[in-house]
Symmetry: C2
Subunit: 487 residues, 2 copies
């Protein structure tokens, strides 16, 4: 019995993929016409779709019609020039082409042998970016460390935490897990809390240190030193510090050098999460933000956020790869092969949570080559300059205030309730955010800083130009006028 | 300062992506000309590439030339019709088009609001596949359970283990971690061991039960019952059982019903790893292999292995989604939104390790629609029939033997050393594998069963036809003749 289905016929692939290219290019042409934030209601799609998969094939034409009519209304358009929420998730032509190529090889690169090019290109390209960031030599593949592509910063933090945990448990025994303490500021990404949950760190042993407004929401070294000292005298084992360059709420930067020295003096693993703002450090004028990285054991930066490389592409560098490998390796018979057994190669399966992995270095390599370092630097500079323009807008309207120092491409601001306004500041800004996002014209998100509800506008979509910033500001002004007028 | 770079211009995207389509279609046309297993030496690529990223842009043409000359020689061609190693990793036109579409939206779907279509399509399509597999109603989204796309089976196992672990630790306290015991056969995928390492399960508490040759390498229920009973009487807390449908070595199937009843009677979480063979269970005639799934708490099947959906697309269904969510949720301020706060939607970030996630349901949806259930069933049937043909070849040549019962699309076999041959069976078959793989004509891998080095031939690449099976057998026969002749 031969199947009549030809699921990978080269000429059918060519014909259909050309159609898909045109569909996608047309999507990008009409991108600004869609509401940025999807306006559908929960459950909208199950009402539109059949309850079972079809028994017989359907045409690509019918499927693309459904993408247009059923899927796209439910998409929140992260690539829209009017997307200002969270932090950006960059696509680009080069990144997209890299995804295409990777999907066509469709390899599962757990070990070197399963596609040597996947492992080796990753090593080379991570060295390239390490150079662009001027990371210390120990993070390069030539020494004891090296870089690896993780899916997300969550995984980068988790594998670093596990490497640190297991260094101690291997030495002291598993029962010391209850003594291990972790340190970070209250501005640290929730990924650290989740990593602690996964790794079995006792919830009570996660020391969340308050980052004060007067230090611009950066972690104070004194607070860290004191917490460690208290824990040591109570018999705990301080083992992990996570500092952030560009926090999620306000893009605050922790003082790496001072924190790192305390970590080192106390034998803590020092991880730096620079998921968003690390990207800016490829520009010489912003490189000082990661001064102190030489104290770190691991450093993470998401090229998928702000370096034109499609999601997912989270870069992690470690100084000592054997710590990762000792924590995460398994070596079952069915994966054994000569190159691995002779220790002549890297098997990235031992640097990450999953076994399988996609050929993600292709897209990063294509981004580096199709754009070049100078363009990438200018790309970042342009967004930071646009954020400064937006901050100027906010400062020019006395109804608003800038809440935290403008940093990188993020502006944190709020509408100030007029005297005798019936709503407090939080409710007012919540309303402003909702009415703005419901307009579909722009999408921005919020945070809470010092107990205050604050709007965040993060510039970073590849298509965003000055006109979009000006228009976004006008939308916010108009919404504010309506809101305050209704008072 | 406006950047001159246009990283996402729709017309440049169109032009370049069309070129990439032709490059990829041409790759598939010439796929059989390349050695299946890459023949490069460790370090080959770093010698070819520059040590730094270019400062200035390079052309797509130059990059594609380098893909051809530098990258492709280092690719092991998983999509080649002559790829028979490990288990397959399926690409298809529909899966590829789905990846293109997903990469073009490039959303980060952690919460419903970040693209409702991504979450809702995933719910619908996982229900579709649940129906195709005739999974009990509790695994459907209409009840307390539901399905989710993980990256890999490793992650599916890990999140199930964490949900099970935390159900107990929440109740009893973290200090009971030391008492938790896990059960699986020695044929279970190494992903379980790794999941235990990550979750902090004490290494000594991982009970690896021997699956005997006389039970075709399936886990004996008696062995499980005895191990649990011994642990209970020693004060341990048995909490997790992983059974396998289609083990990595020999595609053995554990007796789910009997094991599940023991698990249930002892309050263990029962996970079924059907990563590869679960795909076959969409055919009514193979569905009995997962009889007993009604006893399970979680069930995993990798559509990226054998259901024409590009990697990664690992499907996990759970009966009780709240166990997952309680273990894996975090709810930071910056992600709060109305739909989530009102519990009207699913936020898949709380069902997985990472925060961010790609729009992976698109490719699975496109596969279901472009092929339809009947074609998918026939696709599986064809591979199983090809594997049977290969087994017939092996049985027809008295120099060889079939080592384990042919199951699904896998054949385990070996060359028998002739009397007085100077090499033992393991060395001989190791040589046969290496010489065969070095020929570049086919790629197959090995395992060890009952201490014996065994060759595995797994049919499952989308382009594999009967002629490839016949040719593969001829290659093996010729290599064997050469090897035995040199004796």
């Amino acid at each position: 019995m031969e199947s009549s289905l030809k699921p990978m016929d080269a000429e059918q692939l060519r014909e259909n993929a050309h159609k898909m290219v045109d569909f996608i290019a047309d999507y990008y042409k009409s991108l600004e016409e869609f509401p940025v934030l999807s306006q559908v209601k929960p459950g909208y799609l199950s009402e539109l779709l059949p309850v079972s998969a079809p028994m017989q094939p359907e045409s690509l034409q019918d499927i693309l019609k459904d993408v247009q009519q059923q899927i796209i209304p439910g998409v929140t358009h992260w690539q829209s020039p009017n997307f200002f929420a969270y932090y950006p998730s960059n696509s680009s032509i080069a990144g997209f082409l890299g995804e295409m190529l990777s999907a066509s090889f469709n390899i599962v690169g757990f070990s070197w042998i399963t596609s040597p090019a996947a492992t080796e290109l990753e090593v080379v390209v991570l060295d390239w970016v390490a150079k662009m960031l001027k990371l210390p030599d120990q993070f390069h593949s030539s020494g004891l460390g090296g870089g690896v592509i993780q899916g997300t910063a969550s995984e980068a933090i988790l594998v670093s935490l596990l490497a640190a945990r297991d260094k101690i448990l291997r030495k002291d025994g598993n029962e010391y897990l209850s003594k291990l303490t972790v340190y970070a500021s209250d501005q640290t990404h929730s990924a650290l809390k989740k990593a602690c949950q996964i790794a079995g760190i006792y919830p009570a042993n996660f020391r969340i240190l308050k980052a004060e407004q007067n230090s611009s929401y950066a972690l104070a070294p004194e607070a860290l030193a004191e917490a460690i000292s208290t824990d040591l005298s109570s018999g705990f084992i301080p083992f992990f510090l996570c500092a952030t360059v560009g926090t999620t709420s306000s893009a605050a930067v922790d003082p790496l050098s001072a924190l790192g020295k305390i970590a080192k003096a106390n034998n803590l693993w020092f991880h730096i999460d620079a998921a968003y703002a690390g990207n800016a450090c490829i520009c010489p004028e912003y490189r000082y933000y990661i001064d102190g990285v030489e104290e770190a054991d691991s450093f993470g930066m998401n090229a998928h956020k702000w370096l034109l490389t499609n999601f997912d592409c989270s870069l992690l560098w470690v100084k000592n790869r054997s710590a990762l490998i000792q924590s995460l390796s398994t070596n079952p018979e069915f994966l054994k092969n000569k190159a691995s057994q002779e220790n002549r190669v890297i098997d990235f399966k031992d640097w990450q949570i999953p076994l399988g992995r996609r050929f993600r270095s292709l897209k990063l390599w294509m981004v580096m080559r199709m754009y070049g370092q100078e363009n990438l630097q200018n790309y970042i500079r342009n967004h930071i300059s646009l954020a400064k323009k937006f901050e100027q807008h906010v400062l020019s309207d006395s109804r608003f205030e800038v809440v935290a120092p403008q940093a990188f491409s993020l502006v944190c601001f709020r509408l100030i309730p007029p005297p005798n306004h019936h709503e407090n500041s939080d409710t007012l800004n919540y309303s402003l955010m909702n009415s703005t996002n419901s307009s579909g014209k722009i999408f921005l998100s919020h945070t809470v800083l010092s107990g205050m509800f604050v709007l965040r506008l993060a510039v970073g979509a590849p298509l965003t130009e000055e006109r979009h910033i000006n228009e976004a500001w006008k939308v916010l002004q108009d919404q504010a006028t309506t809101l305050l007028g209704s008072f």
